[in-house]
């Protein structure tokens, strides 16, 4: 599905990414975890075609990414900067569908269906300022779902909401993934989260970032916020990833 080959990027003479290799298989959910400021967002922006990396290649289904690929959607961390405040929830979800040649009615129906999936059936005509942060991020997720991308990128999607909402949203992502055959790349700084939602966890070093390890998460599905986190396998994985980043104090006590 997605293949990143020796990707490197520098802003001016500041090197942020130093040769990243990673891949996401069809229907796979890969978490990328790393200390903040290590270049995770730069990685995501390169994959999304928002910036042109200095070196290396991003391939989606074998085709190099030049501009923003058609089959790709992104959920950004800061919903307040990615949801359009002048559009209702349904309007936000329906807007990207314009380029799919759908009729006005079909767009609206697709938007309502997507909002229903994220549990916002009754809020289609609400405006962002009338919704809580968690609801707004659900709208952003619905927008990505309605777009029906082959690859979904999520950039710290739960970092701006409170702990309870965060757990709900993690489960929401797992649920929609079970329903759609979608490949997901989720970027996070939270080790627990990366293990909880991921099929595989890719660990980055601090800037200039490289991949230190790629661990397969062998946990039973469906996952459960309490039971899964109690499993010995979960605790072991978490410790292992923690150890991988030990000695990097910038990860400890972060945010």
């Amino acid at each position: 599905m997605l293949k990143v080959v020796n990707l490197a990027h520098a802003y001016g003479d500041q090197q942020v990414l130093a040769g990243i290799d990673l891949s996401v298989g069809d229907g796979e959910l890969v978490s990328v975890v790393g200390p903040s400021g290590c270049g995770k967002s730069t990685l995501l922006r390169s994959i999304a075609g928002l910036i042109k990396p200095s070196h290396g290649q991003v391939l989606i289904n074998g085709v190099p990414v030049e501009q923003t690929p058609d089959d790709l959607a992104v959920v950004f961390q800061d919903y307040s900067r990615s949801l359009f405040p002048w559009l209702s929830a349904a309007g936000n979800v329906a807007l990207p569908l314009r380029r799919k040649g759908m009729s006005r009615r079909a767009r609206r129906e697709a938007a309502l269906a997507a909002l229903d999936q994220v549990g916002l059936a009754g809020s289609a005509d609400k405006y962002p300022f009338e919704m809580s942060g968690g609801m707004q991020q659900r709208v952003a997720i619905a927008r990505a779902l309605a777009y029906r991308p082959a690859l979904l990128l999520m950039d710290e999607p739960f970092a701006s909401v409170d702990a309870q909402t965060r757990e709900d949203l993690e489960d929401l992502v797992l649920a929609v993934r079970a329903n759609h055959n979608m490949s997901i790349l989720l970027i996070t700084h939270d080790i627990d989260e990366s293990v909880y939602v991921g099929d595989r966890v890719v660990v980055l070093t601090r800037s200039p970032a490289t991949v230190t390890e790629s661990l397969t998460v062998d946990l039973p599905s469906p996952r459960d916020q309490i039971a899964t986190r109690e499993l010995e396998a979960f605790v072991r994985l978490r410790s292992e990833i923690g150890r991988l980043v030990r000695g990097r104090p910038d990860l400890v006590g972060e945010q």
Partner: protein, 284 residues
Amino acid sequence: MKAVAESRAGAVRPEPRRGGPLRIVWAVVSRFWLVPVVVAAWEAAARAAASIDFPPPSAIVLRMRELWLSGPPTRLFLSDDAIADLLPGLGRMFAGWLLASLVGVVAGIALGRAATAAHYVEPLIHFARAVPPPMLITLFVLLFRSSTQTQLAVIVFGVIWPVLLNSMDGARSVERGYLDTAAVFGLGRRERLLRIVLPAAAPKIFAGLRLSLSLALILMVISELVGSTDGIGYELLQAQRGFDSPGVWATILLLGLLGYVLNAVFVLVERRVLSWHVRGTRTT
């Protein structure tokens, strides 16, 4: 849809309405008591002074009625003079304002999105808007001969700058996240401009439009005072030259009412169009 409108209205007015008629009376009195006091004091002072140039408000209101509200009821009592004085000037003002707004918004958004191009013209724009428009009335009079064209030119030249600069600023400072999102979801150039940049810049554009509307009224009056044969400003000048001081006062009062109504209507439209923004970081 209806529920949304209600909940939004509720959000704007958080105070629940409470209390009976007494409270409403008190609210009106505490807000408006000074108005009758001032009018009464003015009336008394003017009668005491008995000066021709300083008529009491009652005389001014009478004169207003005589000038503009003596027509037949079928025309809402508007007199021939009211129609002849008000319409041409207002027509020129709106024409000038709309033309300037259109050009200002389009050029402003284009320049706001094209940073390099903006660098070439910015010094010219900043200089042009610093030139006080009345300085150019004589120039436009010589250039155009026709008084309608002259007045349109004065109004357009005078009011375009706030719209242009605010549109530029608005288009330039569109949240990067909005543009990233638009790019990720593959919105085309046209859609990006119309559906992202334009609404994102709308609050600033409206601030510019509002400023330019009040400026347009000022310029309409000055251009009619200096070089015109009709319009409210021309009537004002005639009244002054004929030492018809109640007429001068009445005209000023009329212009005040006009300014008030224009602004009120504009605010109403702005609230509707920018309802999503009213709750946010409105400043003006």
